[in-house]
Symmetry: C2
Subunit: 214 residues, 2 copies
DNA sequence: AATTTAATGTTATATGAATAACAGTAATAG
DNA sequence: CTATTACTGTTATTCATATAACATTAAATT
């Protein structure tokens, strides 16, 4: 079995979100061009992604929404088997926690860590904040496979090392520190990089070039 | 003049960040392999990016850090000419504001908008929060070119439309709503998509495949 | 029953990005 | 003063992704 392309996986996540909305509103089937429109992409892209995950639609009714949601769940998150931890529950960490808990993702947030004595022992969204000193122990014990890193930059490398030692399988790094982890999938995201990219393409002279090309 | 590749622009942003640190610590020149190491990429990638922006290093001393920082500034943000606004100053908006103000980006955050009467008129990081009803007027008057969108999902499309009508050139969209804007560069980012992507590649069976391939 | 239609499924091509290969050069060592 | 070294700069290739072209099929229409 071959791995799916990264971009396809990203879109599967988005397909699922809008499909959940459609299902909730009573729709049972959806055409590729309808799904495409909801995400502002092309129908071909949708069909190709769905082909890659081995699902089939019916010719005159499109795809069965419930089936597709289930299949995406099996592919992405084992339908609720994977556990997530947030390390560093400051401004960003709390914003992320609220957002995740308000969403329908099947990933279960099951631990939070910090080093601030005022935070340790308190509940965040119903989840107990642990002392980061017990990070390795708890990650192993609870079988957490994914970590969201939102500690101050100075601690990023140290925590990342502890996470890999604890056997973590995926890290989503929001610190502006480039990490190099072995044995785990690493995703880095930084607002400033994103914003400066927007700035470049939004510069009037560049915006003009982009526009004329369309 | 041709546009730079998106990925190159992203890396330029990251080069600048680490170069600013290096410069602050007294270093004047840097080799491609040193810069590469700081970001865990290859030296070839660094040289290629630098070639694309038309900069040259000296053969035995590498690149002049100050010059490179200046050039990246000219390319990305016109060295402080572009202005940024945040729409929706809730949990996420405030986390972003703090982060941007604590950074060295040359993009100047110069307006904040919300629709909550308790927030309108108060200062966030020294910046006055305006009533979102005056969005178009103020964006035009202040010549804001870039907007960060962090309002509740239900308002995303409406605000995006107002932004483009106001002549915005770039939008960084953090709402989980797929937008379709014309005349502006759009960048969308969603934590859940990122996290579910990590979940897929972190699934034990997939992690095994990834590892064996290296 | 044959034909048209409107959808899906698959293969081929084009584009974008990263990597690799190689060419060029100034300082240094012999 | 020639050869070596350790870099930078450019071109070629490979790999990933998106797009486009084409093939297929079940229902609806005539
Ligand atoms: N990637 C982005 O887009 C983005 C946006 C905003 C902030 N950030 C980054 O995210 C991180 C957090 O930002 P923030 O605004 O929430 O900062 P913050 O200071 O509000 O929160 C940091 C939290 O980490 C805790 N902490 C400190 N040291 C720790 C340790 N060793 N172990 C565990 N917890 C520890 C602190 O007690 C605090 O609760 C920073 O690195 C910041 O630069 C990134
Ligand atoms: N992309 C991500 O990774 C990510 C992460 C967290 C949250 N989010 C999204 O970002 C958005 C904000 O999240 P949050 O946690 O800060 O929510 P929040 O409720 O804390 O903040 C929303 C803010 O927008 C304001 N607002 C509401 N309607 C408005 C309008 N019409 N015009 C202007 N302001 C308005 C509210 O008063 C509030 O201050 C939501 O869409 C959320 O889903 C995205």
């Amino acid at each position: 079995m071959k791995l799916l392309p990264e971009k396809t996986v990203e879109r599967l996540s988005q397909y699922r979100r809008v499909l959940q909305r459609e299902l909730a509103s009573g729709t049972e089937h959806i055409y590729s061009h309808e799904l495409a429109k909801l995400l502002h992409i092309t129908p071909v892209q949708v069909r190709r992604d769905i082909m890659l995950i081995g699902h089939s639609g019916t010719l005159r009714r499109g795809y069965n929404i419930a089936d597709l949601i289930d299949l995406i769940g099996i592919i992405i998150d084992c339908s609720g088997q994977q556990k997530v931890a947030i390390i560093g529950i400051g401004d960003l960490g709390r914003a992320l926690l609220n957002y995740l808990q308000g969403s329908r993702t099947k990933l279960q947030l099951s631990a939070v860590f910090d080093n601030n004595p005022d935070k340790i022992g308190t509940l965040y969204g119903g989840i107990l904040c642990h002392n980061v000193e017990h990070l390795k122990k708890i990650i192993k014990r609870e079988n957490v496979t994914i970590a969201i890193l939102s500690v101050p930059p100075a601690y990023a490398v140290e925590i990342a090392n502890k996470l890999t030692e604890a056997g973590i399988l995926g890290i989503l790094n929001y610190t502006p520190v480039s990490l190099d982890v072995k044995g785990a999938f690493l995703e880095q995201y930084d607002v400033i990089t994103s914003l400066e990219k927007v700035a470049y393409f939004a510069k009037p002279v560049n915006a003009a070039i982009m526009h004329q090309e369309e």
